[in-house]
Protein backbone atom coordinates (compact mmCIF):
# COMPACT_ATOMS: atom_id res chain seq x y z
CA UNK A 1 0.00 0.00 0.00
CA UNK A 2 2.82 2.40 0.93
CA UNK A 3 4.50 1.52 -2.33
CA UNK A 4 1.34 2.44 -4.20
CA UNK A 5 1.07 5.82 -2.44
CA UNK A 6 4.72 6.59 -3.04
CA UNK A 7 4.52 5.65 -6.72
CA UNK A 8 1.31 7.62 -7.13
CA UNK A 9 3.04 10.69 -5.64
CA UNK A 10 5.98 10.19 -8.01
CA UNK A 11 3.44 10.00 -10.80
CA UNK A 12 1.82 13.25 -9.66
CA UNK A 13 5.21 14.96 -9.63
CA UNK A 14 5.85 13.79 -13.19
CA UNK A 15 2.35 14.94 -14.11
CA UNK A 16 3.14 18.39 -12.72
CA UNK A 17 6.23 18.61 -14.92
CA UNK A 18 4.28 17.44 -17.96
CA UNK A 19 1.49 19.90 -17.24
CA UNK A 20 3.88 22.86 -17.04
CA UNK A 21 5.21 21.94 -20.49
CA UNK A 22 2.02 20.83 -22.19
CA UNK A 23 -0.23 23.72 -21.06
CA UNK A 24 1.74 26.20 -23.14
CA UNK A 25 2.33 23.84 -26.02
CA UNK A 26 -1.33 22.87 -26.37
CA UNK A 27 -2.31 26.56 -26.54
CA UNK A 28 0.33 27.19 -29.20
CA UNK A 29 -1.02 24.26 -31.21
CA UNK A 30 -4.64 25.16 -30.62
CA UNK A 31 -4.56 28.92 -31.09
CA UNK A 32 -1.69 29.52 -33.47
CA UNK A 33 -2.00 26.20 -35.30
CA UNK A 34 1.79 25.91 -35.16
CA UNK A 35 3.75 22.72 -34.53
CA UNK A 36 6.54 23.82 -32.23
CA UNK A 37 9.23 21.21 -31.68
CA UNK A 38 11.46 23.83 -30.07
CA UNK A 39 9.28 23.94 -26.96
CA UNK A 40 11.61 21.47 -25.26
CA UNK A 41 14.56 23.75 -26.04
CA UNK A 42 13.05 26.52 -23.88
CA UNK A 43 12.85 24.01 -21.04
CA UNK A 44 16.51 23.13 -21.54
CA UNK A 45 17.55 26.79 -21.71
CA UNK A 46 15.64 27.46 -18.49
CA UNK A 47 17.25 24.53 -16.69
CA UNK A 48 20.79 25.48 -17.77
CA UNK A 49 20.33 29.14 -16.85
CA UNK A 50 18.92 28.11 -13.48
CA UNK A 51 21.85 25.78 -12.89
CA UNK A 52 24.44 28.43 -13.61
CA UNK A 53 22.51 31.01 -11.55
CA UNK A 54 22.64 28.63 -8.59
CA UNK A 55 26.33 28.03 -9.18
CA UNK A 56 27.05 31.78 -9.18
CA UNK A 57 24.71 33.19 -6.54
CA UNK A 58 23.74 30.10 -4.57
CA UNK A 59 20.19 31.34 -4.35
CA UNK A 60 17.28 29.28 -5.62
CA UNK A 61 15.10 32.37 -5.89
CA UNK A 62 17.54 33.98 -8.31
CA UNK A 63 17.61 30.70 -10.23
CA UNK A 64 13.82 30.76 -10.65
CA UNK A 65 14.01 34.32 -11.93
CA UNK A 66 16.91 33.51 -14.27
CA UNK A 67 15.12 30.49 -15.72
CA UNK A 68 11.82 32.26 -16.28
CA UNK A 69 13.35 35.37 -17.81
CA UNK A 70 15.87 33.56 -20.02
CA UNK A 71 13.42 31.07 -21.47
CA UNK A 72 10.73 33.71 -22.03
CA UNK A 73 13.21 35.99 -23.79
CA UNK A 74 14.60 33.14 -25.88
CA UNK A 75 11.07 32.07 -26.73
CA UNK A 76 10.10 35.56 -27.83
CA UNK A 77 13.22 35.86 -30.00
CA UNK A 78 12.40 32.55 -31.70
CA UNK A 79 8.80 33.64 -32.16
CA UNK A 80 9.71 36.99 -33.72
CA UNK A 81 12.48 35.66 -35.96
CA UNK A 82 11.08 32.35 -37.14
CA UNK A 83 7.67 31.24 -35.91
CA UNK A 84 5.92 34.47 -36.90
CA UNK A 85 6.90 33.80 -40.51
CA UNK A 86 5.42 30.34 -40.43
CA UNK A 87 1.81 30.98 -39.35
CA UNK A 88 0.41 30.45 -42.81
CA UNK A 89 2.80 27.70 -43.86
CA UNK A 90 1.90 24.03 -43.66
CA UNK A 91 2.86 21.88 -40.71
CA UNK A 92 5.80 20.26 -42.48
CA UNK A 93 7.58 23.60 -42.81
CA UNK A 94 6.94 24.35 -39.15
CA UNK A 95 8.26 20.95 -38.09
CA UNK A 96 11.48 21.38 -40.07
CA UNK A 97 12.12 24.98 -39.08
CA UNK A 98 11.64 24.22 -35.38
CA UNK A 99 13.81 21.12 -35.81
CA UNK A 100 16.48 23.51 -37.03
CA UNK A 101 15.90 25.59 -33.88
CA UNK A 102 16.47 22.46 -31.75
CA UNK A 103 19.79 21.75 -33.50
CA UNK A 104 20.83 25.34 -33.05
CA UNK A 105 19.73 25.54 -29.40
CA UNK A 106 21.55 22.35 -28.45
CA UNK A 107 24.76 23.57 -30.04
CA UNK A 108 24.37 27.04 -28.55
CA UNK A 109 23.80 25.72 -25.03
CA UNK A 110 26.82 23.42 -25.40
CA UNK A 111 28.89 26.37 -26.51
CA UNK A 112 27.77 28.69 -23.70
CA UNK A 113 27.56 26.28 -20.75
CA UNK A 114 29.97 23.55 -21.80
CA UNK A 115 29.47 19.85 -22.20
CA UNK A 116 29.58 18.68 -18.60
CA UNK A 117 26.09 18.90 -17.17
CA UNK A 118 25.89 21.24 -14.16
CA UNK A 119 24.59 19.74 -10.96
CA UNK A 120 21.95 21.54 -8.94
CA UNK A 121 21.52 20.86 -5.25
CA UNK A 122 18.08 20.83 -3.74
CA UNK A 123 17.73 24.20 -1.96
CA UNK A 124 17.95 23.90 1.86
CA UNK A 125 14.37 24.90 2.57
CA UNK A 126 13.11 22.17 0.20
CA UNK A 127 15.55 19.43 1.20
CA UNK A 128 14.85 16.43 3.37
CA UNK A 129 11.67 14.44 3.67
CA UNK A 130 8.48 14.78 5.65
CA UNK A 131 6.27 11.99 6.99
CA UNK A 132 3.00 12.01 5.07
CA UNK A 133 1.77 8.81 6.71
CA UNK A 134 3.17 7.01 9.73
CA UNK A 135 6.24 5.23 8.44
CA UNK A 136 6.21 6.84 5.01
CA UNK A 137 8.54 9.78 4.37
CA UNK A 138 8.40 11.68 1.12
CA UNK A 139 10.93 14.23 -0.25
CA UNK A 140 9.86 17.85 0.24
CA UNK A 141 11.22 18.88 -3.17
CA UNK A 142 8.85 16.51 -4.94
CA UNK A 143 5.92 17.70 -2.86
CA UNK A 144 6.89 21.27 -3.72
CA UNK A 145 6.92 20.30 -7.39
CA UNK A 146 3.39 18.92 -7.11
CA UNK A 147 2.37 22.08 -5.27
CA UNK A 148 3.89 24.25 -8.00
CA UNK A 149 1.96 22.29 -10.62
CA UNK A 150 -1.31 22.82 -8.72
CA UNK A 151 -0.53 26.51 -8.26
CA UNK A 152 0.16 27.01 -11.97
CA UNK A 153 -2.99 25.09 -12.88
CA UNK A 154 -5.08 27.36 -10.61
CA UNK A 155 -3.40 30.53 -11.89
CA UNK A 156 -3.88 29.46 -15.50
CA UNK A 157 -7.52 28.66 -14.80
CA UNK A 158 -8.00 32.13 -13.27
CA UNK A 159 -6.16 33.75 -16.18
CA UNK A 160 -8.10 31.91 -18.83
CA UNK A 161 -11.57 31.94 -17.36
CA UNK A 162 -11.57 35.26 -15.45
CA UNK A 163 -9.64 37.81 -17.48
CA UNK A 164 -10.11 39.57 -20.79
CA UNK A 165 -6.87 38.13 -22.15
CA UNK A 166 -8.06 34.68 -21.16
CA UNK A 167 -11.30 35.27 -22.96
CA UNK A 168 -9.36 36.14 -26.12
CA UNK A 169 -7.21 33.04 -25.67
CA UNK A 170 -10.29 30.84 -25.43
CA UNK A 171 -11.86 32.57 -28.41
CA UNK A 172 -8.60 32.16 -30.32
CA UNK A 173 -8.56 28.43 -29.64
CA UNK A 174 -12.11 28.13 -30.94
CA UNK A 175 -11.73 30.23 -34.07
CA UNK A 176 -8.77 32.56 -34.43
CA UNK A 177 -9.92 33.99 -37.77
CA UNK A 178 -13.14 35.34 -36.30
CA UNK A 179 -11.21 36.84 -33.39
CA UNK A 180 -9.02 38.65 -35.87
CA UNK A 181 -12.03 39.78 -37.87
CA UNK A 182 -13.46 41.31 -34.68
CA UNK A 183 -10.53 43.69 -34.55
CA UNK A 184 -8.23 42.00 -32.08
CA UNK A 185 -4.51 42.19 -32.79
CA UNK A 186 -4.07 38.45 -33.19
CA UNK A 187 -0.32 38.70 -33.73
CA UNK A 188 0.08 40.26 -30.30
CA UNK A 189 -2.08 37.55 -28.78
CA UNK A 190 0.07 34.90 -30.49
CA UNK A 191 3.22 36.50 -29.11
CA UNK A 192 1.75 36.62 -25.63
CA UNK A 193 0.70 32.97 -25.71
CA UNK A 194 4.07 31.90 -27.07
CA UNK A 195 5.93 33.91 -24.44
CA UNK A 196 3.73 32.49 -21.68
CA UNK A 197 4.38 28.96 -22.94
CA UNK A 198 8.13 29.54 -22.98
CA UNK A 199 7.98 31.07 -19.49
CA UNK A 200 6.19 28.00 -18.13
CA UNK A 201 8.92 25.88 -19.76
CA UNK A 202 11.55 27.87 -17.91
CA UNK A 203 9.70 27.37 -14.63
CA UNK A 204 9.50 23.62 -15.34
CA UNK A 205 13.21 23.69 -16.08
CA UNK A 206 14.20 25.26 -12.76
CA UNK A 207 11.90 22.96 -10.76
CA UNK A 208 13.20 19.87 -12.56
CA UNK A 209 16.87 20.88 -12.32
CA UNK A 210 17.48 19.49 -8.80
CA UNK A 211 15.53 16.27 -9.52
CA UNK A 212 16.43 15.31 -13.08
CA UNK A 213 19.66 15.44 -15.02
CA UNK A 214 20.38 18.82 -16.60
CA UNK A 215 21.83 17.84 -19.97
CA UNK A 216 21.83 18.59 -23.68
CA UNK A 217 18.85 16.92 -25.30
CA UNK A 218 16.74 16.88 -22.12
CA UNK A 219 14.13 18.92 -23.97
CA UNK A 220 13.57 16.46 -26.81
CA UNK A 221 13.16 13.54 -24.46
CA UNK A 222 10.33 15.18 -22.57
CA UNK A 223 8.89 16.87 -25.67
CA UNK A 224 7.71 13.61 -27.18
CA UNK A 225 5.99 12.64 -23.93
CA UNK A 226 4.41 16.10 -23.95
CA UNK A 227 3.04 15.34 -27.41
CA UNK A 228 1.47 12.18 -26.04
CA UNK A 229 -0.13 14.24 -23.26
CA UNK A 230 -1.59 16.66 -25.79
CA UNK A 231 -2.90 13.93 -28.06
CA UNK A 232 -4.51 12.18 -25.08
CA UNK A 233 -5.96 15.39 -23.66
CA UNK A 234 -7.01 16.99 -26.92
CA UNK A 235 -5.29 19.80 -28.81
CA UNK A 236 -5.90 23.36 -27.67
CA UNK A 237 -7.43 22.88 -24.24
CA UNK A 238 -5.61 23.50 -20.98
CA UNK A 239 -8.11 21.25 -19.17
CA UNK A 240 -7.20 18.52 -21.65
CA UNK A 241 -3.53 19.10 -20.91
CA UNK A 242 -4.26 18.71 -17.19
CA UNK A 243 -6.20 15.47 -17.63
CA UNK A 244 -3.62 14.16 -20.11
CA UNK A 245 -0.72 15.00 -17.79
CA UNK A 246 -2.34 13.19 -14.89
CA UNK A 247 -3.14 10.11 -16.97
CA UNK A 248 0.29 9.92 -18.61
CA UNK A 249 2.22 10.72 -15.42
CA UNK A 250 0.40 8.14 -13.34
CA UNK A 251 0.47 5.49 -16.08
CA UNK A 252 4.20 5.89 -16.50
CA UNK A 253 5.02 5.89 -12.81
CA UNK A 254 2.71 3.05 -11.78
CA UNK A 255 3.68 1.08 -14.89
CA UNK A 256 7.35 1.37 -13.99
CA UNK A 257 6.58 0.02 -10.52
CA UNK A 258 4.08 -2.73 -11.22
CA UNK A 259 4.66 -4.07 -14.75
CA UNK A 260 7.99 -5.77 -13.86
CA UNK A 261 6.37 -7.38 -10.80
CA UNK A 262 3.45 -8.81 -12.76
CA UNK A 263 5.60 -9.86 -15.70
CA UNK A 264 8.01 -11.80 -13.50
CA UNK A 265 5.01 -13.74 -12.16
CA UNK A 266 3.50 -14.48 -15.56
CA UNK A 267 6.54 -15.03 -17.80
CA UNK A 268 9.67 -17.17 -17.46
CA UNK A 269 12.60 -15.07 -16.19
CA UNK A 270 14.50 -15.19 -19.50
CA UNK A 271 11.79 -13.19 -21.25
CA UNK A 272 10.40 -11.23 -18.30
CA UNK A 273 13.15 -8.60 -18.19
CA UNK A 274 13.06 -7.90 -21.91
CA UNK A 275 9.28 -7.82 -22.17
CA UNK A 276 8.74 -5.72 -19.08
CA UNK A 277 11.36 -3.12 -19.91
CA UNK A 278 9.88 -2.73 -23.40
CA UNK A 279 6.36 -2.65 -22.00
CA UNK A 280 7.26 -0.08 -19.33
CA UNK A 281 8.63 2.32 -21.93
CA UNK A 282 5.73 1.66 -24.26
CA UNK A 283 2.96 1.97 -21.65
CA UNK A 284 2.11 5.62 -22.30
CA UNK A 285 2.02 5.04 -26.05
CA UNK A 286 -0.35 2.13 -25.53
CA UNK A 287 -2.49 4.48 -23.43
CA UNK A 288 -2.43 6.95 -26.31
CA UNK A 289 -3.43 4.29 -28.84
CA UNK A 290 -6.36 3.26 -26.64
CA UNK A 291 -7.57 6.84 -26.25
CA UNK A 292 -7.30 7.33 -30.01
CA UNK A 293 -9.38 4.26 -30.70
CA UNK A 294 -12.19 5.62 -28.52
CA UNK A 295 -11.81 9.38 -29.07
CA UNK A 296 -9.64 10.31 -32.06
CA UNK A 297 -9.68 14.01 -31.09
CA UNK A 298 -8.51 13.38 -27.54
CA UNK A 299 -10.44 13.34 -24.28
CA UNK A 300 -11.26 17.07 -23.96
CA UNK A 301 -10.55 18.80 -27.29
CA UNK A 302 -11.10 22.54 -27.77
CA UNK A 303 -14.39 23.30 -29.52
CA UNK A 304 -14.19 23.92 -33.22
Amino acid sequence: MYMFIEQALNGLQYSALLFLLSAGLTLIFGIMNVVNLAHGSFYMVGAFCAASAVAITGSFGVAILAAIVSSAVYGLIVERLIISRLYHRDHLDQVLATLGVIFFSNALVTLVFGRSPPFVDIPPFLSGAVPILPGLNYPVMRLAFIGAGVLVAVLLWLLISRTRVGMLVRAGADDSETVEALGINIRRLFMLVFGLGALLCGFAGVMAAPLLAVEIGMGEKILITTFVVIVVGGVGSVRGALVGSLLVGLTDSLGRAYIPIYMSQVLPPTYADSVSSSLVSASIYILMALVLLIKPRGLIPAQR
Binding site: H91, L92, G100, F227, S274, S277, A289, P296, R297
Partner: protein, 322 residues
Protein backbone atom coordinates in the same frame (compact mmCIF):
# COMPACT_ATOMS: atom_id res chain seq x y z
CA UNK B 1 14.09 16.14 -74.14
CA UNK B 2 12.72 18.43 -71.54
CA UNK B 3 14.90 20.20 -69.03
CA UNK B 4 13.58 17.90 -66.34
CA UNK B 5 14.54 14.65 -68.07
CA UNK B 6 18.02 16.06 -68.73
CA UNK B 7 18.41 16.83 -65.04
CA UNK B 8 17.21 13.36 -64.03
CA UNK B 9 19.46 11.65 -66.58
CA UNK B 10 22.42 13.70 -65.34
CA UNK B 11 21.76 12.75 -61.70
CA UNK B 12 21.74 9.04 -62.46
CA UNK B 13 24.64 9.22 -64.91
CA UNK B 14 26.69 10.93 -62.22
CA UNK B 15 25.69 8.32 -59.64
CA UNK B 16 26.69 5.50 -62.02
CA UNK B 17 30.06 7.12 -62.69
CA UNK B 18 31.09 7.53 -59.05
CA UNK B 19 33.03 4.23 -58.57
CA UNK B 20 35.22 4.71 -61.69
CA UNK B 21 35.85 8.32 -60.66
CA UNK B 22 36.70 7.18 -57.14
CA UNK B 23 39.11 4.58 -58.53
CA UNK B 24 40.73 7.03 -60.91
CA UNK B 25 41.31 9.68 -58.27
CA UNK B 26 42.20 7.21 -55.53
CA UNK B 27 39.48 8.62 -53.24
CA UNK B 28 38.20 5.26 -52.01
CA UNK B 29 35.88 6.76 -49.41
CA UNK B 30 33.84 8.25 -52.27
CA UNK B 31 32.03 4.97 -52.97
CA UNK B 32 31.23 4.48 -49.31
CA UNK B 33 29.89 8.02 -49.08
CA UNK B 34 27.61 7.79 -52.10
CA UNK B 35 26.35 4.41 -50.90
CA UNK B 36 25.07 6.30 -47.85
CA UNK B 37 23.47 8.91 -50.13
CA UNK B 38 21.72 6.23 -52.18
CA UNK B 39 20.40 4.28 -49.18
CA UNK B 40 19.06 7.42 -47.52
CA UNK B 41 17.63 8.49 -50.88
CA UNK B 42 15.66 5.24 -51.02
CA UNK B 43 14.10 6.05 -47.64
CA UNK B 44 13.50 9.68 -48.56
CA UNK B 45 11.84 8.78 -51.88
CA UNK B 46 9.55 6.39 -50.01
CA UNK B 47 8.65 9.06 -47.48
CA UNK B 48 8.00 11.51 -50.32
CA UNK B 49 5.22 9.20 -51.45
CA UNK B 50 3.16 9.91 -48.32
CA UNK B 51 4.51 13.38 -47.59
CA UNK B 52 4.57 14.93 -51.02
CA UNK B 53 1.70 13.09 -52.69
CA UNK B 54 -0.56 12.03 -49.83
CA UNK B 55 -0.09 15.13 -47.63
CA UNK B 56 0.47 12.85 -44.64
CA UNK B 57 3.26 14.43 -42.59
CA UNK B 58 4.69 11.27 -41.08
CA UNK B 59 7.26 12.01 -38.40
CA UNK B 60 7.79 8.31 -37.72
CA UNK B 61 9.42 6.84 -40.79
CA UNK B 62 12.62 6.06 -38.95
CA UNK B 63 10.63 3.27 -37.27
CA UNK B 64 10.45 1.40 -40.59
CA UNK B 65 14.12 2.08 -41.25
CA UNK B 66 14.88 0.53 -37.87
CA UNK B 67 12.57 -2.44 -38.48
CA UNK B 68 14.28 -3.20 -41.80
CA UNK B 69 17.67 -3.04 -40.17
CA UNK B 70 16.68 -5.25 -37.27
CA UNK B 71 15.21 -7.93 -39.56
CA UNK B 72 18.65 -8.28 -41.15
CA UNK B 73 20.48 -8.06 -37.82
CA UNK B 74 18.28 -10.48 -35.89
CA UNK B 75 18.30 -13.11 -38.63
CA UNK B 76 22.08 -12.75 -38.90
CA UNK B 77 22.38 -13.06 -35.12
CA UNK B 78 20.46 -16.36 -35.08
CA UNK B 79 22.45 -17.69 -38.05
CA UNK B 80 25.65 -16.98 -36.15
CA UNK B 81 24.35 -18.58 -32.95
CA UNK B 82 23.20 -21.59 -34.93
CA UNK B 83 19.84 -21.64 -33.18
CA UNK B 84 16.36 -21.15 -34.54
CA UNK B 85 13.86 -18.31 -34.52
CA UNK B 86 10.27 -19.54 -34.16
CA UNK B 87 11.53 -22.94 -35.32
CA UNK B 88 13.13 -21.50 -38.46
CA UNK B 89 16.84 -22.14 -38.91
CA UNK B 90 17.24 -18.76 -40.63
CA UNK B 91 18.97 -17.81 -43.80
CA UNK B 92 21.53 -15.36 -45.05
CA UNK B 93 20.05 -15.06 -48.51
CA UNK B 94 19.29 -11.46 -49.40
CA UNK B 95 16.57 -12.64 -51.78
CA UNK B 96 14.60 -13.86 -48.75
CA UNK B 97 15.70 -11.41 -46.06
CA UNK B 98 15.25 -8.16 -47.93
CA UNK B 99 11.69 -8.88 -49.10
CA UNK B 100 10.99 -10.08 -45.58
CA UNK B 101 12.28 -6.78 -44.21
CA UNK B 102 9.88 -4.98 -46.57
CA UNK B 103 6.96 -7.17 -45.49
CA UNK B 104 7.63 -6.71 -41.78
CA UNK B 105 8.07 -2.95 -42.18
CA UNK B 106 4.87 -2.89 -44.24
CA UNK B 107 2.97 -4.74 -41.51
CA UNK B 108 4.25 -2.35 -38.84
CA UNK B 109 3.21 0.46 -41.19
CA UNK B 110 -0.24 -1.09 -41.53
CA UNK B 111 -0.82 -1.06 -37.76
CA UNK B 112 0.75 2.34 -37.23
CA UNK B 113 -1.03 3.85 -40.22
CA UNK B 114 -4.42 2.38 -39.35
CA UNK B 115 -4.25 3.96 -35.89
CA UNK B 116 -2.62 7.24 -36.94
CA UNK B 117 -4.92 7.88 -39.90
CA UNK B 118 -7.82 8.22 -37.48
CA UNK B 119 -6.46 11.72 -36.99
CA UNK B 120 -5.21 14.47 -39.29
CA UNK B 121 -2.99 17.52 -39.14
CA UNK B 122 -1.03 18.25 -36.02
CA UNK B 123 -2.23 15.14 -34.25
CA UNK B 124 -1.08 12.93 -37.12
CA UNK B 125 2.44 14.34 -36.86
CA UNK B 126 2.55 13.82 -33.10
CA UNK B 127 1.08 10.33 -33.25
CA UNK B 128 3.42 8.99 -35.89
CA UNK B 129 6.28 10.49 -33.88
CA UNK B 130 5.03 8.85 -30.70
CA UNK B 131 4.58 5.43 -32.28
CA UNK B 132 8.08 5.57 -33.73
CA UNK B 133 9.38 6.49 -30.30
CA UNK B 134 7.51 3.53 -28.84
CA UNK B 135 9.20 1.23 -31.33
CA UNK B 136 12.53 2.84 -30.45
CA UNK B 137 11.98 1.96 -26.79
CA UNK B 138 10.91 -1.56 -27.71
CA UNK B 139 14.20 -1.98 -29.63
CA UNK B 140 16.13 -0.59 -26.65
CA UNK B 141 14.31 -3.12 -24.48
CA UNK B 142 15.38 -6.11 -26.61
CA UNK B 143 18.14 -7.06 -24.19
CA UNK B 144 19.04 -10.34 -25.89
CA UNK B 145 19.59 -8.41 -29.14
CA UNK B 146 22.01 -5.92 -27.60
CA UNK B 147 19.48 -3.49 -26.14
CA UNK B 148 20.84 0.04 -26.20
CA UNK B 149 24.09 -0.95 -27.92
CA UNK B 150 22.50 -2.59 -30.93
CA UNK B 151 23.68 -5.62 -32.84
CA UNK B 152 26.77 -6.11 -34.95
CA UNK B 153 26.39 -8.10 -38.13
CA UNK B 154 29.23 -10.41 -39.12
CA UNK B 155 28.74 -10.43 -42.87
CA UNK B 156 26.56 -9.06 -45.61
CA UNK B 157 23.66 -11.12 -46.96
CA UNK B 158 24.30 -13.38 -49.93
CA UNK B 159 23.03 -12.97 -53.45
CA UNK B 160 23.83 -15.80 -55.89
CA UNK B 161 26.21 -14.61 -58.59
CA UNK B 162 27.00 -11.27 -56.92
CA UNK B 163 29.78 -10.56 -54.48
CA UNK B 164 28.26 -7.71 -52.49
CA UNK B 165 31.11 -7.76 -49.99
CA UNK B 166 32.80 -5.74 -52.70
CA UNK B 167 31.92 -2.12 -51.96
CA UNK B 168 31.49 -1.07 -55.57
CA UNK B 169 29.23 -4.05 -56.34
CA UNK B 170 27.15 -3.32 -53.26
CA UNK B 171 26.89 0.32 -54.33
CA UNK B 172 25.68 -0.61 -57.79
CA UNK B 173 23.14 -2.99 -56.30
CA UNK B 174 21.80 -0.21 -54.06
CA UNK B 175 21.71 2.17 -56.99
CA UNK B 176 19.80 -0.30 -59.17
CA UNK B 177 17.33 -0.90 -56.35
CA UNK B 178 16.89 2.87 -56.01
CA UNK B 179 16.29 3.14 -59.77
CA UNK B 180 13.71 0.36 -59.70
CA UNK B 181 11.98 1.87 -56.67
CA UNK B 182 11.92 5.33 -58.26
CA UNK B 183 10.44 3.86 -61.44
CA UNK B 184 7.78 2.06 -59.39
CA UNK B 185 6.96 5.22 -57.46
CA UNK B 186 6.65 7.20 -60.71
CA UNK B 187 4.25 4.59 -62.05
CA UNK B 188 2.32 4.67 -58.82
CA UNK B 189 1.85 8.43 -58.54
CA UNK B 190 0.80 8.70 -62.19
CA UNK B 191 -1.61 5.78 -61.95
CA UNK B 192 -5.34 6.25 -61.21
CA UNK B 193 -4.51 5.31 -57.62
CA UNK B 194 -1.89 8.05 -57.44
CA UNK B 195 -4.27 10.58 -58.94
CA UNK B 196 -6.83 9.86 -56.23
CA UNK B 197 -4.12 10.13 -53.60
CA UNK B 198 -3.03 13.51 -54.93
CA UNK B 199 -6.65 14.55 -55.02
CA UNK B 200 -6.79 14.09 -51.25
CA UNK B 201 -3.83 16.39 -50.91
CA UNK B 202 -5.47 19.12 -52.97
CA UNK B 203 -8.92 18.95 -51.48
CA UNK B 204 -10.00 16.10 -49.27
CA UNK B 205 -13.68 17.11 -49.12
CA UNK B 206 -13.99 17.23 -52.91
CA UNK B 207 -12.45 13.80 -53.21
CA UNK B 208 -14.78 12.35 -50.60
CA UNK B 209 -17.73 13.81 -52.47
CA UNK B 210 -16.44 12.16 -55.64
CA UNK B 211 -16.86 8.89 -53.79
CA UNK B 212 -13.35 7.98 -52.67
CA UNK B 213 -12.91 6.76 -49.09
CA UNK B 214 -9.76 8.49 -47.78
CA UNK B 215 -8.46 5.89 -45.35
CA UNK B 216 -8.15 3.08 -47.88
CA UNK B 217 -6.02 5.13 -50.29
CA UNK B 218 -3.93 6.82 -47.66
CA UNK B 219 -3.27 3.61 -45.77
CA UNK B 220 -2.19 1.81 -48.95
CA UNK B 221 0.28 4.58 -49.75
CA UNK B 222 1.49 4.56 -46.15
CA UNK B 223 2.15 0.81 -46.22
CA UNK B 224 3.99 0.96 -49.57
CA UNK B 225 6.09 3.82 -48.25
CA UNK B 226 6.84 1.89 -45.06
CA UNK B 227 7.96 -1.13 -47.10
CA UNK B 228 10.33 1.02 -49.16
CA UNK B 229 11.81 2.55 -46.02
CA UNK B 230 12.17 -0.95 -44.59
CA UNK B 231 14.21 -1.97 -47.63
CA UNK B 232 16.43 1.07 -47.09
CA UNK B 233 16.90 -0.04 -43.47
CA UNK B 234 17.88 -3.54 -44.59
CA UNK B 235 20.41 -2.08 -47.02
CA UNK B 236 21.77 0.20 -44.30
CA UNK B 237 22.28 -2.75 -41.95
CA UNK B 238 24.19 -4.48 -44.75
CA UNK B 239 26.21 -1.36 -45.43
CA UNK B 240 27.13 -0.51 -41.86
CA UNK B 241 27.15 -4.16 -40.65
CA UNK B 242 25.38 -2.84 -37.59
CA UNK B 243 21.84 -2.15 -36.43
CA UNK B 244 21.00 -0.09 -33.37
CA UNK B 245 17.91 1.57 -31.89
CA UNK B 246 19.31 4.86 -33.20
CA UNK B 247 18.15 3.81 -36.65
CA UNK B 248 14.61 4.34 -35.34
CA UNK B 249 15.26 7.55 -33.42
CA UNK B 250 13.05 10.55 -34.05
CA UNK B 251 16.05 12.54 -35.28
CA UNK B 252 16.36 10.13 -38.19
CA UNK B 253 12.71 10.81 -39.11
CA UNK B 254 13.48 14.50 -39.01
CA UNK B 255 16.48 14.02 -41.27
CA UNK B 256 14.38 12.16 -43.85
CA UNK B 257 11.90 15.03 -43.86
CA UNK B 258 14.66 17.60 -44.15
CA UNK B 259 16.06 15.76 -47.18
CA UNK B 260 12.69 15.86 -48.90
CA UNK B 261 12.11 19.55 -48.34
CA UNK B 262 15.70 20.33 -49.31
CA UNK B 263 15.43 18.36 -52.54
CA UNK B 264 11.88 19.26 -53.47
CA UNK B 265 8.73 17.75 -52.03
CA UNK B 266 6.38 15.74 -54.21
CA UNK B 267 8.88 15.21 -57.01
CA UNK B 268 10.21 11.65 -56.33
CA UNK B 269 13.57 12.69 -57.85
CA UNK B 270 14.08 15.64 -55.52
CA UNK B 271 14.68 13.59 -52.36
CA UNK B 272 17.64 11.89 -54.08
CA UNK B 273 19.31 15.27 -54.45
CA UNK B 274 18.12 16.24 -51.00
CA UNK B 275 19.76 13.25 -49.33
CA UNK B 276 23.04 13.87 -51.17
CA UNK B 277 23.09 17.56 -50.24
CA UNK B 278 22.02 17.00 -46.62
CA UNK B 279 24.54 14.23 -45.94
CA UNK B 280 27.22 16.07 -47.89
CA UNK B 281 26.62 19.21 -45.85
CA UNK B 282 26.77 17.18 -42.66
CA UNK B 283 30.06 15.64 -43.79
CA UNK B 284 31.61 19.01 -44.60
CA UNK B 285 30.39 20.69 -41.41
CA UNK B 286 31.51 17.89 -39.07
CA UNK B 287 34.95 17.92 -40.68
CA UNK B 288 35.12 21.68 -40.18
CA UNK B 289 33.82 22.26 -36.66
CA UNK B 290 32.73 20.34 -33.61
CA UNK B 291 29.65 22.52 -33.17
CA UNK B 292 28.35 21.79 -36.66
CA UNK B 293 24.76 21.77 -35.40
CA UNK B 294 25.16 25.50 -34.80
CA UNK B 295 25.26 25.92 -38.58
CA UNK B 296 23.03 23.08 -39.74
CA UNK B 297 20.12 24.40 -37.67
CA UNK B 298 20.02 27.87 -39.24
CA UNK B 299 20.58 26.35 -42.71
CA UNK B 300 17.50 24.21 -42.17
CA UNK B 301 15.48 27.23 -41.02
CA UNK B 302 16.60 29.31 -44.01
CA UNK B 303 15.82 26.52 -46.47
CA UNK B 304 12.31 26.22 -45.05
CA UNK B 305 11.74 29.97 -44.99
CA UNK B 306 13.07 30.86 -48.41
CA UNK B 307 13.19 27.85 -50.69
CA UNK B 308 9.69 26.71 -51.43
CA UNK B 309 10.40 24.23 -54.20
CA UNK B 310 13.69 22.65 -53.23
CA UNK B 311 16.81 22.05 -55.28
CA UNK B 312 15.08 19.89 -57.87
CA UNK B 313 12.37 22.47 -58.44
CA UNK B 314 15.05 25.12 -58.84
CA UNK B 315 17.04 22.97 -61.31
CA UNK B 316 14.14 22.11 -63.58
CA UNK B 317 12.81 25.68 -63.46
CA UNK B 318 9.39 26.73 -64.68
CA UNK B 319 6.21 26.07 -62.80
CA UNK B 320 5.85 22.41 -63.65
CA UNK B 321 6.91 20.57 -60.56
CA UNK B 322 5.44 17.25 -61.52
Amino acid sequence: MTRKSIVVALIFALLFLVPPIGNATGETFLVSMVTRFVIYALAAVSLDLVLGYGAMVSFGHAAFFGVGGYVVAILGFHMDMGDTLFGWAGTSSALIIWPLAMVVAGLVGLVMGALSLRTTGVQFIMITLAFAQMLYFVLVGLVQYGGDDGLSITSRNIIPGLNIDNDATFYYLCLVLLLVWVALCRRLVNSPFGMVLRGFKQNERRNVNLGYAPTRYKLTAFVISAAGTGLAGALWANYALYASPDMASWLKSGEFMAMIVLGGMGTIFGPILGSAVYLGLEQVLTAWTENWMLFLGPVLVLVVLFSRRGIFGWLIGGRNND
